[in-house]
């Protein structure tokens, strides 16, 4: 038996803030430690500030999920201040949130997911030549158009929000803008043009409606062979390639999921409350653990700091959360190894467990029973999980399946906008209150908890999807979801462990998304590997 430790840095391609240490035994990963490597202290800065400071501050936590940060920060205030939000404002917020994710999906696929999939290590596989021709970073024919065209959905965001990223145009009680006819017609033109060129033209090779007819894994297999256009699409090529290089064989993770849901129904959430949120979500929230569905309850969320560079051990609900950083060198002596806290959820009868967030979790909730008429009910990805199990492939399929779904959503909200209606109703600004706002960023559940006292922020806690996924061990020694998903991954060449990149990228962890991250120097280095065309 040969055991070796491997340090991989940096693993996140968007920013260089995620380091991973894995132990390999006989060519298979047996243990993993994810280390978030940067600390910025936004929660500390927000303490004592203006209640609306989060609208300016939190979108800047992340350069690619800024609109999602704004969406949930605004609902945290809407619930704390008990605002009235006109249906049109909710539609505009939803359009913006969905367009940000539509931008993210192709940009992530080509720029983040592809580079390690086209590594030279795979050159002996039959489809390699075609895959490299299309997907190679910068020079691939599909890479270029896919990345370039991904700028268009956020043009719609800019029409309503002024700019993307880093707008703060969603405010308690509505949105700042009141669109004109040409704002809507321009948005429609941009959306349809992008859908024809990339989503249908290059990615699916068929209409969005044809793709959405697929309900099972066997439907997908039939779809791939249905005609030349579909067989030659980027999506079909990816699926064939993933099966060839074994992306369906690893990256499983726990198979337990959490989604906080998103897209509030414009008519059912005019008076946002924490308790009324689940019933008003178009993309539903929920928990799936050990084979059972549960309703999401934010009161069951905690953050554990036992292995994080913060004072103390144990866990707290975010309304009672504290952020007291300590010197990482001191922390290391106490077994701490990352700036990310470990978010956990108290599942009935199961206790505090780590849960995976992201598209796989969202699409599991889409298959949850008892959907209301307006809610998304879609058994497709659940079927693929049942057939193939969770894996890198399944996680990718769940994410890209959202592009056609969100495109249809944006179409509908644009259609429903009443240009002569209200877009803002000025709220009262009570001095004290508690709020919870949440959404689904492209990468997963993203939530703010706010406590107001004396007209100021008394406490502000953000839990990012990246914290859920790349968070460390907790006080019960449960490893984090991404740590777990590395376990069992076969590593063919320890000097070039592309498999780890494929697992990490399937989560699309965007480390700049973590509020607290730092590069811990740990373990002895047997090899160093730069992910992404290395």
């Amino acid at each position: 038996m040969t055991t070796m430790e491997l340090n991989v840095s940096p693993l996140g391609q968007v920013e260089g803030d995620l380091d991973v240490k894995v132990a390999i035994t006989d060519g298979v990963v047996t243990d993993a430690w994810t280390e978030a490597a940067m600390f910025r202290g936004f929660e500390i800065i927000l303490k004592g500030k203006d209640p609306q400071a989060g609208l300016i501050m939190t979108p800047r936590i992340c350069g690619i999920c800024g609109g999602s940060h704004l969406y949930k920060a605004c609902y945290a205030l809407d619930t704390a201040w008990a605002t009235y939000v006109p249906p049109n404002a909710t539609r505009v917020r939803n359009i913006a949130q969905a367009c940000e994710t539509l931008q993210s999906i192709p940009r992530w696929f080509y720029a983040i997911m592809c580079p390690d999939m086209v590594a030279a290590q795979y050159s002996s596989f039959p489809l390699y030549e075609e895959v490299a021709k299309r997907f190679a970073p910068y020079v691939g024919t599909s890479y270029q158009t896919g990345v370039t065209l991904s700028q268009h959905p956020v043009e719609i965001y800019a029409i309503f929000g002024g700019q993307w990223p880093h707008s703060s145009f969603m405010i308690p009680g509505g949105v700042m803008s009141a669109p004109t006819l040409s704002d809507v017609t321009r948005s429609i033109s941009i959306l349809e043009n992008w859908a024809r060129q990339w989503l249908e033209g290059q990615w699916l090779g068929c209409s969005v409606d044809r793709w959405l007819e697929n309900k099972t894994w066997s439907d997908v297999q039939a779809w791939m062979e249905e005609n030349e256009s579909q067989a030659n699409s980027d999506l079909a090529l990816f699926i064939k390639w993933a099966l060839q290089i074994g992306l369906d064989k690893y990256g499983q993770g726990y198979g337990n999921y959490l989604a906080t849901g998103t897209f509030l129904n414009p008519d059912l959430y005019t008076n946002p409350t924490v308790d009324g949120r689940n019933a008003a979500l178009q993309a539903r929230s929920g928990i799936y653990a050990n084979g059972q569905y549960f309703d999401f309850d934010q009161m069951r969320v905690t953050e554990d700091v036992t292995h994080s560079f913060y004072q103390g051990t144990g866990s707290r609900h975010p309304w009672e959360g504290v952020t007291e950083p300590i010197d990482p060198a001191e922390g290391a002596k106490q077994g701490k190894y990352t700036w990310a806290k470990a978010p956990r959820y108290d599942v009935p009868d199961l206790g505090y467990v780590p849960l995976e967030v992201g598209p796989l979790a969202r699409q599991m909730m889409a298959a949850k029973p008892d959907a209301a008429d307006f809610q998304d009910a879609d058994p497709f990805i659940r079927n693929i999980i049942d057939e193939l199990g969770p894996s890198v492939l399944t996680r990718v399929l769940a994410r890209v399946h959202e592009a056609p779904k969100y495109y249809k959503n944006v179409q509908n909200w644009l259609k429903e906008l009443d240009l002569h209606g209200e877009f803002y109703v000025k709220p009262g600004e009570p001095d004290s209150g508690k709020g919870f706002g949440s959404t689904e960023a492209a990468r997963g559940a993203l939530s703010d908890w706010i406590v107001l006292e004396g007209g100021k922020i008394a406490n502000y806690q953000v839990i990012t999807p990246t914290a859920w996924n790349i968070g460390p061990r907790d006080g019960n020694s449960n490893v984090g979801p991404m740590e777990q998903s590395f376990v069992g991954t076969p590593i063919e060449n320890p000097d070039f462990p592309v498999e780890l990149g494929n697992v990490a990228h399937s989560f699309d962890s965007c480390l700049v998304c973590t509020v607290h991250a730092y590069d811990g120097k740990t373990g002895k280095e047997l090899a160093k590997f730069r992910m992404g065309g290395g």
Binding site: G16, D17, F39, L55, E155, L181, K426
Partner: protein, 238 residues
Amino acid sequence: MFAGRPMKDWIDEIAPKAGIVVAIGDCATYGGLPAVPPNPSDSRGLQFDRGGVKGGYLGPDFVSKAGLPVINIPGCPAHPDWISQIIVALAAGRAADLALDDFQRPKTFFTSFTQTGCTRVQFYTYKQDPPKFGEGMRTGCLFYEFGCRGPMTHSPCNRILWNRQSSKTRAGHPCTGCTEPGFPFGDLEKGTVFKTQKVAGVIPKDEPEGMDSGSYMALAGLSRAVAPKWSKEDMFVV
């Protein structure tokens, strides 16, 4: 941190060897949002600190091998065109054309104001503000009530549009002054977000650049008195 080393170690090693050093965005330029009090991460800009004090991590006297101080492209975020155009200018050997202002920002982008090209400028002229947000896109100037810093912020946001479509102020969003070293102004303290800071409840605390409160009030009084009927009505209508 990057690849196991603190970012400052990378800067220590690379900056002395670099022909030209460019700071992109507020964090690199002035320390940015992480530097807002209490600045828990001790963030600073490359050659300026928050508030516009020259110094920063590299110190006030730093010059790169090409003999230039750090070239700052501020903004949160910096616009991709500002970044790419400056880099193209440098790569094309036009460094000599790059005049820098007091904060070492390229004058070609940061001399005009955010207000330059704002579609609301006629409402500014006649001192008309929108009654509330959400109608901000239909009429009025955001300077008087909603804390817009367009008249005293240097940026080309309304000359080079965002995502080729719009700008904050065009969408009814007050300019927050993110290309200036004071951003976010008032340190996000209570009452400073999206609200114009005033003296004696009427006079804006920060006047348009180059005006004193006497001349500002005289001009405002005259403008309001002569404001035509259309300036009190919606302009950006359905």
